[in-house]
Amino acid sequence: MNLPVVRLLMVFLMIGGSAVQAMAADTGAAWMEPFSLSGWADVIRSMRIRAPNDALTSRARLRLALDAAFGALCGFVSADAEKNWRIEEQTGVDLHEAWLEYAAGRWDLRMGRQIIIWGKADGVQITDIISPPDYTESITRDLDEIRMPVDAAKFRLLGDYIDTELIWIPVFEPAVQPSGDNPWAIEADVPETVRISSKDTVEPETTLKNSEIALKVSAYLTGLDVAASVFYTWDDDPAYHRTTRSEGDTLFVDYTPRHHRLTVFGLEFSRPWSDFVFRGEAACYLGKYHETKMIDMDPIQRDLFKWLGGVDWTPGNDWTVTAQITGADMIDHDAHLAGETHATMATLRISKKLLNQTLTLSNMLYYDLNENEFYTRSTADYALTDALHLLMGADIFCGDDGDFGMYEDNSQIWVKGKYSF
């Protein structure tokens, strides 16, 4: 959406929403009751732990959301305004979600720009690939800030215990990777005799044939939730196809990033027992392209099986512990592939609330068992008032040149203020 339109929308949200709420409060007018304005404003600044100890993250954001409910019909629109002192292209205003929903007794339909989250996993995507991720700041943003909305129609048939969900996404939305001057854009080392160039990414055109379709059946039973899904989609990440030519000792490699079709079959469950909830998720990615070790070799198509097992433990006294183990197994692995046959990662989240739940200390650890690398995010969140929170934390990357190790120089400590209304 272009900038003036979004700016207008933000102004409409701010003025319209505030006016509606103020008038509703003053006059008690019944027609204004369906409207409600909410949102938050936050500001975050970090310091890199290693030299040059600069501010790796430095931004302020405002989220405004207006929703209106007229019986079975409901509308929602939210927009973001951001000033980013470190990644300039992030500065601006953006429409976040905008949808209309009709809810009947046994079915509902939501149409428009919306975030759709699937799965039982915590901080890991197995079947949860409807809304693509935004990795502009790698995975250092809060999980809810990483997921991007998609333009979709979501229809659900609602039973007492079983729901069937059908999603149609006519417009492809790719994942966002850091690029350009972004400090999270880490370029791979290439030999001096190699020259790399890249064409624009080939994205699927918006046609009916190129639509994405998902179907999911979920059951919520006594002591057990289970779901099965199938998603006919495009890979959110492009495969880097390449053409090469040699001139003397120099190899010229020209990348053509291209998104490919994927069919993903998924299964998930969660089952409580005493103070524990056991969770599991598995997905088979048919048609996935993988990078090769050779700089002049095209990506290779191999099916991928991803899985996760996890447990949430709430022992009481405001402690929460979540442990997960997750893996990605390549089917019919090829020796030329850069990725390993079996990749395994463990996660551990520990959280404790103190001072009558005004202070929350938490830590999320991702540990790559293949590369022996990790990323850990520690946070202290103190509620100064009901609306105003002060947060401090550290993002620590450790390893060599794997997914976490490549960001070792980006380890940072940060402070954040967040006001919700």
Binding site: S38, W40, D67, A69, G71, A72, C74, E101, A103, G105, D108, I115, I116, I117, K120, D142, L143, D144, R147, R156, L158, D160, D163, S218, Y220, T222, G223, D225, S270, R271, P272, W273, S274, D275, F276, V277, R279, D312, T314, G316, N317, D318, K353, N356, Q357, T358, A383, T385, D386, A387, H389, K418, S420, F421
Partner: protein
Amino acid sequence: MDKQFFKAAIVFTMILLGFSQVATTVAPLTGQQIMTRVDDRPNGDDRKSVLTMTLINRSGRKRIREVEYFSKDFGKDKKSVMVFKKPADVSGTAFLSWEYDDPAREDDKWLYMPAMKKVRRISGASKNEYFMGSDFTYDDMGDRNVEEDTHTLLGEEIVDGHDCWKIESIPVNPEEMYTRRLLWVCKAADMVIKAEYYDKDGLLKIYKVLDFRRQDGFWTLLRSEMDHVARHHKTVMRMDAVRYDSGIGDHLFRVSTIQRGAIR
């Protein structure tokens, strides 16, 4: 048979009935029976209200939590939904609970988190967590099963002008958070209007009902407070917009409803 015999039989029957009536009236109730009466107190087939909690710390600083509450009976089981309205950062969070009468059957619970746009199954056993930083645990607020404690009638006392039974309740499971509770049950309303909670270190919390009355034919709790003596922290709970038997649809208590992020 002659008239004399009939008269004697009627008089005898009346005397017997009279004796049994007297016996019924004077036979003291046991603690278990009183707590069963409290548990069985009529409250309609469905109910909804807005619950406001004011959390007050030792320096007098206040925090406000507001929750919209719906519940409905399904036979002897109960389903309920709580939607958090305040504070703003948790607004829209919804908590769905299917509570079973059978104590051997674990409750089913789900939590919808608007920031994550996702419903999560949560453990049904974590009843000793404090509810949103208040001094009420989930167990204090929910329907604790009568069989989970041994109830002993200690006597009768007047509390705030109300004639009450004084009950001592000791958990069957010695691992529980409270070692014992002293409960004062208002005889007229079959409602606990005062309670003291003890743990292994002594008195932990004092609960008092500040206002209750009969509404739509049902005894209704309107205002209460929980004074956490050990933490020097207090929670005042107020119930507004209380309605019984308003015909809440079954669909409100489905996972798919809280998944929408709004209850309608």
